[in-house]
């Protein structure tokens, strides 16, 4: 089964057909998806603003990053689970949208980046990381998250 065939099978399966019939299902899930955006946005900004020197400078970056990670994980759970539901409703539409694939690629990239380079820099002893490196890592993270968000917005445009 090709990916397109899978999307078609998913979208036109009986349960998805029933969910699409409901006038409230998609709007409600989309609303929860948007609330996830706030949660992810907040926890990402907490760390990246700190690394840029514009956030909670009175606290060690490692502490802020540790705290933010819990909320980022919760935000991601909300985002991904509602995102999968939204995708399933119109799977074939998204299959053909370039922005959807750009968003997915950026999402994978930013999750990998956050769990590796980004975390290492945020958790490191601050005396051992140059300010330039800290800022650069924060900017890459913000750029990737913005790509995910913009891609997400464009998927929904008519």
């Amino acid at each position: 089964m090709s990916l397109l065939e899978f999307c078609r099978w998913l979208q036109y399966s009986a349960p998805l057909h029933t969910l699409r019939e409901s006038p409230v299902f998609f709007p409600v899930v989309a609303t929860i998806h948007l609330m996830g955006l706030a949660l992810i946005g907040g926890s990402v900004l907490l760390v990246d603003l700190r690394l840029l020197g514009w956030g909670l400078q009175g606290q060690p970056a490692a502490r802020i990053a540790d705290d933010a990670e819990r909320w980022l994980r919760r935000g991601l759970v909300v985002m991904v689970s509602t995102g999968i539901l939204l995708f399933m409703c119109f799977a074939t539409k998204y299959y053909y949208l370039t922005f959807f694939w750009v968003k997915m690629a950026a999402l994978v990239a930013v999750v990998v980046f956050t769990r590796s380079v980004h975390r290492r820099v945020a958790m490191a002893n601050e005396a051992e990381v140059s300010p330039f490196r800290r800022r650069f890592v924060a900017l890459v993270s913000l750029f990737l998250w913005t790509t995910v968000a913009v891609g997400g917005r464009y998927i929904g445009f008519p």
Binding site: P23, P27, T31, A38, L45, L56, R70, T146, R153
Partner: protein
């Protein structure tokens, strides 16, 4: 002149028509409005979670508030500017939208809640600044703020479905 007539007239002004009919400028403003949720609501949520004793419990509340509020305010400013433009693009449609009206009520309540917090509990922040879980009245303010922000997001999203459901 009543509001209905005023918004009807506002929608006929040339800039309103131009914004309404422009494909890319309108969508760009809409995108900014939606994505700034991550800055405005995002930082506000982190402040509220601290007020509730659910995040950054080791950081003094005053530090969280003074460092994050400027970002929340900057986000709020972008929200108001882009929101005003989206309203201006179709004044009567927005005015008649029941979810728009609910959203404005929730917004006014959220602003009032923040103002009340500033005028009351915040004045005595020194007494509970280091508490991992702040006093009850502070937690109530935080919970109220979270609820109102969720309401603003929900009613904002539902504006798009008003015609579909009730039209």
């Amino acid at each position: 002149m009543d509001l209905f007539r005023f918004f009807e007239w506002l929608g006929t002004t040339s800039w309103s028509v131009a914004l309404h009919e422009s494909r890319y400028v309108f969508l760009f403003v809409l995108m900014l409005h939606v994505l700034t949720v991550s800055v405005f609501v995002g930082t506000a949520v982190m402040i509220d979670l601290r007020l509730l004793g659910k995040a950054m419990t080791h950081v003094p509340v005053s530090q969280v508030v003074t460092r994050l509020v400027p970002w929340s305010q900057a986000g709020f400013f972008v929200m108001v500017v882009t929101g005003t433009l989206l309203f201006y693009a179709a004044p009567l449609t927005r005015y008649e939208n029941v979810f728009f009206r609910l959203k404005m009520v929730a917004l006014a309540m959220a602003v009032m809640n923040a103002w009340l917090f500033r005028r009351t509990a915040w004045r005595r922040v020194a007494e509970w600044d280091l508490d991992p879980v702040p006093p009850r009245r502070v937690r109530v303010a935080g919970a109220l703020s979270l609820t109102l922000l969720a309401t603003i997001i929900t009613t904002g999203r539902m504006m798009a479905y008003s015609d579909y459901w009730f039209g």
